[in-house]
Structures are given as C-alpha cells and as structure tokens.
Subunit: 342 residues, 3 copies
Amino acid sequence: MEFTAGQIAELLLGKVDGDASVIVNCFSKIEEGKPGSLSFLANPKYTNYIYETEASVVLVNYDFVAQKKISCTLIRVQDSYKAIAQLLAVYNSMIDKPVGIEKNSFIHKKAKIGKNVYIGAFAYIGKDAEVGDNVQIYPGAYIGNNVKIGENTVIHPGVKIYYNTIIGKDCTIHSGSVIGADGFGFAPNGNDAFVKIAQIGNVIIEDNVELGALVTIDRATMGSTIIRKGVKLDNHNHVAHNVEIGSNTVIAAQSGIAGTAKIGDNCMFGGQVGIGPHVKIANGTKMSAQSGIANNIKTENSILMGAPAFDLREYHRAYVHFKNLDKIVKRIDELERKLKDK
Amino acid sequence: MEFTAGQIAELLLGKVDGDASVIVNCFSKIEEGKPGSLSFLANPKYTNYIYETEASVVLVNYDFVAQKKISCTLIRVQDSYKAIAQLLAVYNSMIDKPVGIEKNSFIHKKAKIGKNVYIGAFAYIGKDAEVGDNVQIYPGAYIGNNVKIGENTVIHPGVKIYYNTIIGKDCTIHSGSVIGADGFGFAPNGNDAFVKIAQIGNVIIEDNVELGALVTIDRATMGSTIIRKGVKLDNHNHVAHNVEIGSNTVIAAQSGIAGTAKIGDNCMFGGQVGIGPHVKIANGTKMSAQSGIANNIKTENSILMGAPAFDLREYHRAYVHFKNLDKIVKRIDELERKLKDK
Amino acid sequence: MEFTAGQIAELLLGKVDGDASVIVNCFSKIEEGKPGSLSFLANPKYTNYIYETEASVVLVNYDFVAQKKISCTLIRVQDSYKAIAQLLAVYNSMIDKPVGIEKNSFIHKKAKIGKNVYIGAFAYIGKDAEVGDNVQIYPGAYIGNNVKIGENTVIHPGVKIYYNTIIGKDCTIHSGSVIGADGFGFAPNGNDAFVKIAQIGNVIIEDNVELGALVTIDRATMGSTIIRKGVKLDNHNHVAHNVEIGSNTVIAAQSGIAGTAKIGDNCMFGGQVGIGPHVKIANGTKMSAQSGIANNIKTENSILMGAPAFDLREYHRAYVHFKNLDKIVKRIDELERKLKDK
C-alpha cells in the first residue's frame, strides 16, 4: 500500500508543507525514521528528531515552528497524535479479516451462530451458546455452554470462556485469557483442610471492553462479576469473584483485584497494583504501579502510591527520607551525644 | 429448580420462621436480594441489609434476634455460612456434567482411560498416559506422555500438562494452567551467555488440590516439585522447580515461589507475595499481600508483612512513621536548631 | 538406562575414587540421594550431606578432601556443577523427540514447512508462515499468518503466536505463552472513554532465547518489540509494546516491562520486578525481586532494590532503620522532652 503525502493530507484534512508527491508505504517512529516511511511528532521531547529523521513524511501540529532546516515533507494537522491513530486504524482495517467456519471446529448443534462470523479450526462452541454477527473466534478458543457473545467482538486464539458468561458488543479478548473460572472460595472444615464453596454465579462483560493476553476474570460465587463498558485491562490482570470494575477504567499489566472489590469509573491503575478484598475505590482514582490498598478510597480522583497506598506526593516525600534514614539516624545519634555532653 | 422455604429447611435441618410455602429459584447476596431468591446472613456487618432485602428467604443463625420488622421468611440454622455452602454445592451438583469422549480428541493407543470419563474435543492424551475413573478433561487440554491423573479430577479447557507429571484424586485444575514446564535453570557459559540446565525431574500433585486459572508449576531439575494434599492456589500463581508446598496451604493470586523453596503446611499467603529461592517457611506462616521474603521463617504461625517481610503489627507501626517521615525530619531539624541556640 | 561409575567417569574425563563397577540409573540431589542414583556436590553448604547420602555415586571437584568416611563412589572432575549439567543434557537428549505431522493439525497450503519437523495434533499453521528445519510445534499451538520460526526452535503446547512475528533459531517457548498480542495503546476520546490505537508493528525474537510458560510479548505499535539473542525470561513475564531487551539478559518470574522501555545487555532481574514506560536500563543492571523503577539507570552494573529502586546495600541499610522507626521516633520524643526540661 503506497500513498503520497498529498493523499494522506487529504484524508486527514491537513496541509502539506513540502513535496506533496513523495510516497510512503509504512509507518515509523520519528527516532527510527527510514526513507519511505511516515512518522509523527506529538511529544515535544522528541522535537529534535525532526531535524534528523530519515522519514519521508512527518505529521505535525499546525502550530509547529521549525527551528532548523527540515528535509522531510510535513503534513500539518489539528492534532498529530490523533491523526496518526486515525491512519493506523485505516491501515489496520485494510488487513484481511478472516471470515467463515474452518474445518475441524466444534459447534454444538444447539449453538446459535450469527452472520458473517469467523470460527477458526479447533475452536469449540458449546450448547446454547450464542455468537453475534461479525464475531471472530480464532483457533483453539473455547466458548462454554450458554455463553453469549455480542456482535463485532473478537476472541483471539486459545481464549477460554466458561459457561453462562455474557460478553457485550465490540469487545476484544486477547489470547489465553480465561473468563469465568471458579472464584477462589474455600471454607475451613475445622480440621486444617478446606472445603470448596461452589461458585455458581457468572461473569458479565459489557460493550467495548478490551482484555489483554492471559487475563483472568473469575465467575461470581453468587450473582455476577461485572466489567463495565469501555474498561481496558492489560495482560496478566486478575479479577476475582464478585468484583465490579466501573466504566472506562484502565488497568496496566499484572494487577490483581481481590474478591468483591468495587472499582469506580474512570480509574487508572499502573502495573502490579493489588486491591484487597471487599475494598471500594472511588471514581477517578489513580494508583501508581506496584501500589496496594486494603481500605476503601472514598475521595474521588485521588492519586495514590505505596503499599498500603497513600497520596502520591506524600509518598515520594516520605520515600526521599526513607532513602536517607541512615543519615537521619546519625543526626539523632549526634543530637543525643550533644545533649548528653551538655 | 424451585424449592419452598420448608423444603430447604428440611434439607438443612433448620427451622422456618415465617411463611414456609414461599418459593425460591435462585441465590442472591443479601444486599442484592431479589424476590424469588434465597440469601443468607453470616457476617454481622451485613445485618442491616436483612431489614431491607427483597430476597424471599434468608438463612440466619439460630441466635439471630431481629431488631426491626423483617418481611422475608427466615430459616434458622446452626451455621448460616456452612448452610449456604451446602446449598450451593447441592445446586452445583445438579448441573449436568459432561461424560464421554468427543470426536476430534486425540488419545494415544497406549494411553489408559478409566471409566465414566469425559474427554473433550481437541484434547490430547499422550503415550502411556493414565486417566482415572470419572476424570473430566475439557476441550483443548494437553496431557503429555506418561502423565497419571487420579480419579474424579477435573482438568479444565486448555490446561497443559507436560510428560511424567503425577496428579492425585479429586483435584481441580482451571483453564490455561501449565504443569511441568522446564524449571528456570541456566548456567553462565563464561562468555556472558547462558547454557540451559536440562530439567529432567517432574511434578507431583497430591489429592484434593485446586489450582486456579493460569497457574504454572515447573518440573524439578532432578527429583520432583511437590504440591501436597489439600493445597489451594489461586490464579496466576508461579511455583518454580523443586519447590515443595505443604498440606492445606492456601495462596492467593499472582504469588511466586522461587526454586527449591519449601513452604510448610497450613500456610496462608495473600496475593502478589514473593518467596525467594531455597527459602524454608515454617508451618502456619501467614504472609500479607505483596510481601516478600528471602530468608527462612523458622517460627511457626508467624504473621508477616513487607519486603523483606517482618511481623505484621510491627510493619504497620513502622509504616505509620514512614508516612510521617517528613514531619519526623522537621522535628529533628527543630531539635538541631534549638540545641545550636543553647 | 544404566551406567557404571567407570563409564560416567570416562564420559566426563573424570577419575573414579571407589568402586568403578557400581551402577546408577537416575539422578538425585545429594540431600535426597537414594541407592542407584548419581548425585553431585557443588555448593560447599551441602558438604555435610556427602557423608550420609545414600546416592551410589557422587560427582565432586578434584580438590575435594573428605573429612570423614564416605560410603559412595566418588567421581572427581574439574567442575562438578558443569559435569552434572553435561550429564543431564546427555540424559535429556536420550528422551525420544517427536517427529512428523500428526493428524488433525491445520497447515495452510501457503505455509512453508522445513525438514524433520514435528507438528502436533490441533496445531495451527497460518498462511505464509515459515517453519524451519527440526522445529517442534506441540499440540494446540497457534502460528499466525506470516510468522517465521527458525530452525531447531521448540514451541510447546498451546503457545499462541500472532501474525508477522519473527522467531530465531534454537529458541524454546513454553506452554501458554502469547507472542504478538496487541500492545496496550489507547487514546482518551475526550469523553472519558478511550479509543484503541491500532498496533501494526510486530515482535522479533532473536536466536537462542528461552521463554517460560505464560509469558506475553506484545507487538509494537509501529516497528518491532525486540528480544535479543540469548535472553531468558521466566514464567508469567510481561513485555509490553516496543520494548527492547538486550542480549543475554535474564529475568525471573512475574516481572513486567512497560511500553518502549529499553533493557540493556546482560541484566539480571529478580521476580516481580516492574520497569516503567520509556525507561532505559544500562547494561549489566541487577534488580532485586519486587523492585520497581520509573527512571533511567545510566550506570552500568548497578545493583538495585526497592520501589522506586536504588542501591541494594543502601536499601538494606535504610530498611533496617525502617523496621526500627518506632524506636527511632521514641528517641526523638525523648530528645524533645530532655531539651524542654533544660
């Protein structure tokens, strides 16, 4: 696929600054730009690269003012980051999407399959499962009995979805994720051993949710574990039984939410965060990577760090002192010595 | 499935307090109770909900005394938590369990398959593998050569079990878990690179063990990695080569046990805990979430927190001061100033 | 397989000390030695076990001097650890490796398959994929369109490799790992929700890399996520989009590297380490388990601990004071009291 700078500017409603006939056929990051590639400048930290990049075309904001000579063609747009995202999406949509039902898939005779779906080889669709229109189910995925999958959702290779799970429209679930496994519920039997509490609830995932690779979302003991619309969970996230995650909350990789915790809307958690059982987290809470919390966060839009987590700036201030504790203790030694001398 | 309050009371050897003819057909949590559902009150924190719940029937302990009017039917029992667990198990046992061998499974001609088993489509049973009676092996699971699986064990979709692994009776392994992959053993080759140490041992899992989704248990370098009877590991746990985990130990999600560590019996670890290589942990040790330890714990029933972990209460006490370090340092500044003035 | 002490000594160019005709048929650790097994003594900490071990043969270094009577046969070698590794490798190479293409695999007619390969049942090889000579692809693995796999590489059961990934020679990827899933890239849509940034790059894995079970390596947004030659990643590692990991770097289980981070050559990270986005880590950096860092590490061969991480010895020194903070604050209380009294 080849395009001229002029064609791209037209698509983006942008303005060419330089040779509009130059041709590009791939994307590059500005610091790794190669001839024939299209790049972009969004983060001011990277501005210096624009004077050296070998990329043929670079998207910049309208207000960009060059401080030195620039050899590439510029396309000026309202928001260069949005523009590159738009182009990537166009490029991505040009990749052939698979359609049809491959041989060697297993589809229960009581499953309902929508129009225009892809069901890959070795995929398994259980009894009473419902697969919406335009859904893609890649090879080796397992869709248990009575699972519902909304239209346009993409289930990548090897995803495992246990019975009774409900998944909305326009979702993406990456490889190896496991939805609806039993919650971790055991009761002591009074004899040092544990008896399993049957986990008879399910998982509900609303529309427009994206789950990375190897995410687990456990079924509820009773009722439902709920992932609200627009949630994005990165790889290796763990969501325990009866958790609810509010709309548009975004969680980076390897974080874990313990049983029955309720996470608000529009939260953002870094990687390797831990949320304790039964904890309620207010809307808009931000948690720094590797933080943990076992108590409710009631104030919206808090920014937290530490284990247990508290205000991010206070954490950083305390941590500076922590690093200096040896010197601080020496100051106390000195004070004690001086006071004794007096 | 519908039952009257009277029928349920009979099953639980409980006593109806209210309308014994009221019908329920599902479970609910007391704070989410709906008409037609059965709920329970076990945790006193939730007592207030019993006066407002719309659940039709609520299990309570014999000694529960209402402080206000209650509109639902009560069933009084010895231990409401055990009673609800009993009912959930009954309900769960009523779900049809799959039996038989689905088409498109691969069973090596030298594998031994017990009676009354389920082997799902795309499951793979290797040479000399032995599958006990009543075992369920769900679609896409891989059972390597010479693996032994004891009776009544359930292997969920997509579990991968490497050769020579031995699994006991009445175990459950959830989707995507990997048992018997190579331990992480490499020796420096003196030239900045590493040479693999062949991992020729195996994994032994005793009876009544439950592993969550996406758990890894690596094979031993030599000998066996051993998971003793009654152990429960939550999702995303990592158990390295030559580890031994003692009976009835319970570990929450995303924890990791490094090579050759020995974990005692009846331990309880929170999520995201890390145990260092060669560490020995005494029986009954409790580790708070996100804690880590690189030294042996010799005293039984210790309760630990931090990284490195120490006594939980001392950790909390130290952490309060940590949060106040800025104020503490200001007090030292002030002391120094005053002492100088004198 | 049975060997005499004499045969083994010959293979290792070692010297028998004791009965050269004694027969062994398995390996054991010295502390678990059983008659008929071969063991080794490399770590001086384990020296006491040699006087009690029931192993029939023990490898020791040439310079080992017994302090008490030894009942087993010794084989003296230059480096007993290397010698045992050599024997384990020999033993491992004697296990039958599968070859051939099992029924019920899916191989696209436009895929290129090398000589002497193994492709297991339910494995999927996509369009334009290239599988080199002697490659083993175990059951249930998914090789997407246009993936290249170099010769001698082993892909264990259920590994999922997305389109356009390039994997070198002599690599091992353990079960359930996911290579090439979308990077976690979303842009706010100005309305509290997020829009996906299409991830159109790929993953490149160089030669002689080993990935444990359930590792994720995300494809780049643009360009490539790169794992350099000789890298070893333990189970549950997460490598985000556009990361580069330098040659021969070794990372223990459950660590996570955020987007666009660049890890140097010859680094060693403990388990559960977190590296922030865009961070650059110098060659030879060592990070203690559970450490985290959000800033660049510019000094080579640093040894770091903490979150955020700093010099390991300083961390330990500060942590001793942290544990004592209650006493330290009492000393300040006392100082204040005394100063007031004066």
